[in-house]
Amino acid sequence: MTDHKAGKIDDLLREALADDLPPDVAAGMRQRIERFRSEKMTGEAKPSTVAWAWLFRRGVWAALSILMLVAGILLQAGRSSNPLTDRISTVKAAYTGLEAPRR
């Protein structure tokens, strides 16, 4: 097909499919397009929101668990006072023949 013939077909199509829609039909179409776009946007947002919420919960748990772990290690390293520790100190001191250490 030559360029000349292609140009003629284009002109013919433009004439046949001229933008002559009545205003109410055009408005209806615009509304439908808007509705379709908004639905698509909401549909896309839902899974991402769920995923973010899931990630957020997971992140919270991860942070919380690490905090607990670190707090436990620090407390143990600092030899915080505890009834069981105090009792063992007393028993150990008794075996050694000494007074229990004071904290």
Partner: protein
């Protein structure tokens, strides 16, 4: 003909169990092993095992497992679940035995007693619960081995949808909590207590709880959802193991520094961390793994889970022995940190 053969198998199995029960009863009544008697530990182990079974299996699955151990015939699926039930029962008995020792050890050390000899006696008595757990585990392993041999001949079953948390499993959790509370009350019975909730303060060792729970959740999260319940088994076992080693190193440093407070802190950490790691294994990870197998989501427990179930209670027992030695070993001269 087939019916007669089945009846004969049932009778022989029943006879074997009755003979074993009579043998155990005769040994207990003879008084030859009176030193090995720990009533609170025995009751805790029996009722704890029942509760642990209910946490992981439904009443119907448990009844079927007992019937199949008695020689009854069943479907391929029930054969596989029954074999796993008996393996889980052996696992629970072994873990509960070690946990009972740790719990008993804590109470022996944490409550006032009649002198050093009394404390030592109670600490040694606490090791008997592990022995009970081992014996019960061996008894449960017999039907487990027999049924798993038969189940190995059948293929992998189709996955069964989870039916949520049935009533018998809720009952199992409640019963398990009740058994723990009653055991502690039974163990401290008659002991003088000072202050508000003193035994709770002794048992709830803050640093050990934080490390075991925090570490287990972190490990389970990092392993991801794909690992399923195995992540929890490894989480509790690995955190427990790290805690045991940390406590041991701290105690040895205490001996080097000749610091009684440091040694006591390390011993308390070892006992409490092992108790909470074992509690997590038997009350959280074990039932979750049981449901995965019973619902056909997995063929059976993984090799690492099985290793954890066998080795961690054994290590706990060894570390409790070491703790006992560290407590009763006198120190020649205290350092300046005392």
């Amino acid at each position: 003909m087939i019916e007669n053969s089945r009846e004969s198998t049932k009778s022989r199995t029943l006879l074997r169990w009755l003979f074993a029960a009579a043998f155990v009863f005769a040994i207990i009544m003879s008084g030859a092993f009176a030193g090995l008697m720990n009533k609170a530990g025995l009751l805790y182990l029996v009722f704890g095992s029942v509760a642990a079974a209910l946490m992981g299996f439904t009443g119907r699955e448990i009844a079927t497992a007992f019937k199949m151990a008695g020689g009854a015939a069943g479907t391929e699926e029930s054969l596989r679940v029954s074999a796993h039930f008996w393996e889980a029962a052996a696992r629970n008995a072994w873990i509960l035995g070690a946990m009972g020792s740790a719990l008993n050890f804590t109470i022996a050390l944490g409550t006032p007693s009649e002198g050093i000899a009394g404390i030592s006696n109670r600490m040694i008595q606490s090791f008997i619960v592990t022995l009970y757990g081992l014996v019960l585990a061996v008894v449960c392993l017999v039907p487990a081995m027999k049924l798993s041999g038969q189940a190995g001949k059948v293929g992998r079953p189709a996955s069964v949808a989870s039916g949520g948390l049935p009533l018998d499993r809720i009952v199992g959790h409640v019963l398990f909590a009740a058994v723990l509370v009653l055991t502690v009350l039974f163990m401290i019975g008659g002991q003088p207590q000072g202050g508000p909730m003193p035994i709770a303060k002794v048992l709830l060792h803050g640093p050990a709880i934080l490390v075991v729970i925090g570490g287990s959740i972190a490990l389970a999260l990092f392993m991801g959802a794909g690992a399923g319940a195995r992540a929890w088994t490894l989480g509790f076992a690995m955190t427990g193991l790290v805690s045991l080693l940390t406590g041991l190193i701290q105690a040895l440093l205490g001996f080097v520094h000749r610091n009684i407070a440091e040694i006591a802190s390390a011993c308390a950490f070892i006992i409490s961390a092992s108790t909470f790691a074992l509690l997590g294994l038997v009350a959280v990870a074990g039932p979750l793994e049981d449901r995965e197998v019973a619902e056909g989501r997995r063929d059976g427990p993984g090799i690492l889970s099985r290793l954890s179930w066998v080795l961690f209670p054994l290590l706990t027992f060894i570390f409790l022995l070491l703790t006992f030695l560290m407590v009763v070993t006198p120190m020649e001269k205290p350092g300046p940190g005392m």
